[in-house]
C-alpha cells in the first residue's frame, strides 16, 4: 500500500492521538494492585453487554444491592447490546475513557487489551489456587489466561447448539440427525412438509460465522486451526477450510428458508421463526434458549430440544469439538480503584448473584461452580451447561479468535459465499490475503 507523505502523517497523527488518549488516564502503579485495601468510595464505571431486555435489569439490581452495602460507592453502568459493544469498547479505548470494569470475549479480543496494558493482572486474586478462583470452573478461568497470567473474570458460559421443535420432528417421524449428511436429509423432509428447516438471518454477518467455525473445527485439525489464528504462523492452506465452507454453502442453500437472501434477514427474525413454530430448527447460543423457549411462545407448547451441529462423516478435525467460550469482564489496569473493581466483581460472582444470573429471565449459565442446576435454570439451559462441561474442546468464536482484519474478512467473504458471488476457494483467497497483510 503506497501512501503519500501527507497521508502517512495524517494516519500517524491519528494513531498518536489515540495512544496519547489512552495514556491520559494513567494511574499510579500502586492503584493497579488488586489485593490493595478496598476504598469503598467514589464512582466505579462498568461497561456491560447486557443492554436491552431481558438482561438489562441484572446489573441494575446488582449495582443497587452493592450500593446499598456501600453507600459511598456509585456504580455507573454503561449497558450495550451484543451488536454495539464492540464499537463502544473501541471508541472508549481510543478516547482514553475505558471504564473501570469492561466486558470482554476470550481469545484475540481479550489479548489485545492485555498486550495494550489495559487489563489488570488478576492472577493473585483469581488464579486457580486463589479462594475466588476456586469458585469457578477451571476451564473458564483459563480462558482468560495469557502468558501464564490470569486477567479476566468469567461470568457465564456460552456455546452454540441447534435448537429444534420437538413436535415438528415427532410429527414428521424425524429423529435428531447424527451426521451432517443426515441433517441435510432431514432438511429436505421438513421442507417438503411446508416448514422452514433451519431459520437463518445473517444481516449482522456473525450468525454465518458461527456455522462456519463449528464446521472448521470438524474439518481442520485443531493444531492447524490454532496456528492459523496467529498471523505470523497462519497459512490457511488446509483443504478442510474449503471443505467446511462448501458444507456451509450446502446447508445455507438446502436447509434455510431464506437461502441466498439470508444476508437481508435479522437473526432475531430467525429466532422468532423457531419460537413461533414456523421453523423446525434455529442455530443458537445457549444464552438464547430461555428467550426462544419463553412460555408465551408456540415452541414452549411444542417442546424445545437442542443438539450439537452434527459432524460430517470422515472429517479430519475434531468431531467432538464444541463451538463456545465463556464471556467475562476485564478490569482496567489504569483504573484509579482496581481493588474496588475486584470487590464489585467478587460480589457479582457470589453464588446468590450467580444463581440469579442463571435463572429466568436472564438464563445466562454462570461459570460459578454449583450455580447452575435445574432448580434455578430452565431444563434446557441446565442440560446445555452439562454438554459444555462434557465437551472435550471448546472452540472460540471465529470473529474473536482471529485478529480484527482477518475476522472482518471472514465476515464479509462469508456473506459473498451465501449470495453465491464467491466460491469457497475465493473466500479462502481473501482470508489468506488479509492474514498476509496482518503479519
Amino acid at each position: 500500500m503506497k501512501r503519500r507523505t501527507f497521508l502517512t502523517t495524517a494516519a500517524a497523527a491519528a494513531v498518536v492521538t489515540m495512544i496519547s488518549g489512552c495514556g491520559s488516564t494513567a494511574a499510579a502503579p500502586s492503584a493497579a494492585d488488586p489485593q490493595a485495601t478496598v476504598d469503598y468510595s467514589g464512582t466505579l464505571s462498568v461497561l456491560t453487554k447486557f443492554g436491552g431486555d431481558p438482561l438489562q435489569p441484572y446489573f441494575e439490581k446488582i449495582a443497587k444491592s452493592y450500593q446499598k452495602m456501600h453507600p459511598e460507592v456509585k456504580i455507573q453502568l454503561i449497558q450495550e447490546t451484543d451488536q454495539s459493544i464492540k464499537d463502544k469498547t473501541k471508541t472508549l479505548t481510543a478516547s482514553g475513557a475505558l471504564p473501570d470494569v469492561y466486558f470482554s470475549w476470550t481469545g484475540n479480543w481479550a489479548e489485545n487489551f492485555v498486550s495494550g496494558g489495559l487489563a489488570a493482572d488478576l492472577s493473585a486474586v483469581i488464579g486457580p489456587d486463589s479462594a475466588w478462583g476456586k469458585t469457578f470452573g477451571a476451564a473458564s478461568v483459563d480462558a482468560f489466561k495469557f502468558d501464564g497470567k490470569y486477567y479476566g473474570v468469567p461470568l457465564y458460559n456460552d456455546a452454540k447448539f441447534m435448537g429444534y421443535n420437538k413436535a415438528i420432528f415427532s410429527k414428521l417421524g424425524i429423529s435428531v440427525p447424527s451426521t451432517f449428511d443426515e441433517l441435510l436429509g432431514v432438511c429436505a423432509k421438513i421442507k417438503s412438509a411446508g416448514y422452514e428447516p433451519i431459520a437463518f438471518g445473517n444481516k449482522d454477518g456473525w450468525p454465518a460465522l458461527h456455522f462456519v467455525q463449528q464446521l472448521l473445527a470438524y474439518n481442520v485439525p485443531a493444531a492447524i486451526l490454532a496456528a492459523d489464528y496467529i498471523p505470523s504462523t497462519a497459512k490457511f492452506d488446509d483443504p478442510g477450510y474449503v471443505k467446511a465452507l462448501g458444507q456451509f454453502k450446502e446447508l445455507a442453500d438446502q436447509c434455510t428458508g431464506s437461502g441466498a437472501q439470508s444476508n437481508g434477514v435479522l437473526y432475531s427474525t430467525a429466532q422468532q421463526a423457531l419460537a413461533s413454530g414456523q421453523a423446525a430448527m434455529y442455530y443458537q447460543e445457549i444464552l438464547e434458549f430461555d428467550n426462544v423457549d419463553a412460555p408465551a411462545n408456540q415452541i414452549s407448547k411444542d417442546g424445545f430440544g437442542f443438539f450439537q451441529l452434527p459432524a460430517p462423516s470422515g472429517a479430519s478435525g475434531d468431531s467432538k469439538a464444541l463451538e463456545g467460550a465463556p464471556e467475562g469482564y476485564l478490569i482496567n489496569a489504569k483504573s484509579k480503584n482496581v481493588a474496588l473493581a475486584v470487590d464489585f466483581m467478587k460480589f457479582v460472582t457470589e453464588k446468590e448473584n450467580a444463581s440469579l444470573l442463571s435463572s429466568a429471565p436472564y438464563g445466562q449459565p454462570s461459570t460459578v461452580l454449583g450455580a447452575v442446576d435445574s432448580s434455578n435454570s430452565s431444563a434446557s439451559v441446565a442440560a446445555g451447561v452439562e454438554q459444555i462441561n462434557k465437551a472435550d474442546v471448546l472452540v472460540p468464536w471465529l470473529d474473536t479468535a482471529n485478529v480484527p482484519d482477518v475476522a472482518d474478512t471472514w465476515l464479509s467473504a462469508t456473506e459473498g459465499l451465501i449470495t453465491g458471488n464467491l466460491t469457497p476457494s475465493q473466500v479462502m483467497d481473501q482470508v489468506r490475503k488479509a492474514s498476509a497483510g496482518a503479519k
Binding site: M1, A10, A11, A13, N112, N263, V265, T419
Partner: protein, 238 residues
C-alpha cells in the same frame, strides 16, 4: 489504498450516490418546485410543500430503520406489495444482495432528502418577480418554455448551492448505510465514510482510516471549488 478493491467499491458507490442525488434532489426537486409554485391555489401549494417536506423531518437513522423493514425479504412491505401485484418474480432481498443493496439505500436517501430540496427551490422560485412570468404569458410562452427560460436561469444560484450541498453530502454518507447494511453484504454497499469507520474501529487500522478521511476531504473540497467557480461565471442578476 490503490490496491484495495473495497476502497474503489466505496468510491464508486459514492459517485453513484452523487449522480442519483443530483438527478433527483437537484433536477427533480427543481422541476417539482416549479410545478407546485405554478399551481393557482395557495392552500394546495402549502399542503404539497408540507407533504413533500415531511420525510426530511425524520432522522436518517429512523428512516434507515424504517426502510430496512420495508426491504426485509420475508416480512417487508415491498416484497409483499410485489407479491400482491403478481410480480413475485421481482421479490428479493433488497439489502441482502450485492447488486441491489446500495441502490436500496440510495433510493431511501432520495425519499428522505427530496422534500427539503423542493422546499428550498420553491423559496427561490417565489423570489422571481411575477412580472417576468406575466410578460411571458402575454407573449404566449408555454409552461415548459417559461421553466426553461425564466425559472432555470433565475434559480441558478440556488441550483449551484444545492449541487454543492448534494454532491458534498453524497461523499459524506454514513448513517443510512450503517443502519441498513453496515456496508454489506460482502462490502458491496460500502461508501468511503463506512469503510473509513470499519477500517479504523473494526479492523483497528487507524492509519488507513485517516488516509480515507483525507481522500474524502480532498474530493469534497475539489468538487465544491469547481462548482463555485462554474456557478460564479454564470451568475444572473436582476
Amino acid at each position: 489504498m490503490m490496491a484495495d478493491p473495497v476502497f474503489w467499491t466505496a468510491l464508486i458507490n459514492n459517485v453513484f450516490y452523487a449522480v442519483v442525488s443530483v438527478i433527483v434532489q437537484v433536477s427533480g426537486a427543481l422541476a417539482l418546485a416549479a410545478v407546485i409554485e405554478g399551481l393557482r391555489s395557495e392552500r394546495l401549494r402549502g399542503i404539497l410543500r408540507a407533504t413533500y417536506f415531511i420525510p426530511s423531518a425524520i432522522s436518517l437513522t429512523v428512516a434507515g430503520l424504517l426502510f430496512y423493514f420495508i426491504y426485509e425479504p420475508e416480512l417487508g412491505l415491498l416484497n409483499g406489495l410485489l407479491d400482491s401485484l403478481g410480480l413475485n418474480q421481482l421479490t428479493q432481498a433488497w439489502l441482502g444482495q450485492e447488486n441491489t443493496a446500495i441502490w436500496g439505500i440510495i433510493a431511501m436517501s432520495q425519499w428522505q432528502g427530496f422534500g427539503y430540496s423542493t422546499l428550498l427551490f420553491a423559496v427561490a422560485i417565489q423570489r422571481i418577480p411575477s412580472e417576468l412570468y406575466d410578460a411571458a404569458a402575454i407573449d404566449g410562452v408555454g409552461g415548459l418554455k417559461k421553466f426553461w427560460t425564466i425559472t432555470m436561469p433565475l434559480t441558478r444560484e440556488m441550483t449551484g448551492l444545492m449541487m454543492i450541498v448534494t454532491v458534498a453530502g453524497s461523499f459524506q454518507v454514513f448513517n443510512e448505510v450503517m443502519v441498513m447494511t453496515s456496508g454489506g453484504p460482502n462490502n458491496s454497499s460500502q461508501v468511503l465514510g463506512t469503510w473509513l469507520y470499519r477500517s479504523g474501529f473494526v479492523r483497528n487500522d487507524f492509519g488507513y482510516a485517516a488516509a480515507i478521511a483525507t481522500v474524502i476531504f480532498v474530493v469534497t473540497i475539489v468538487l465544491a471549488l469547481i462548482q463555485l467557480w462554474y456557478g460564479r461565471r454564470r451568475r444572473v442578476e436582476w
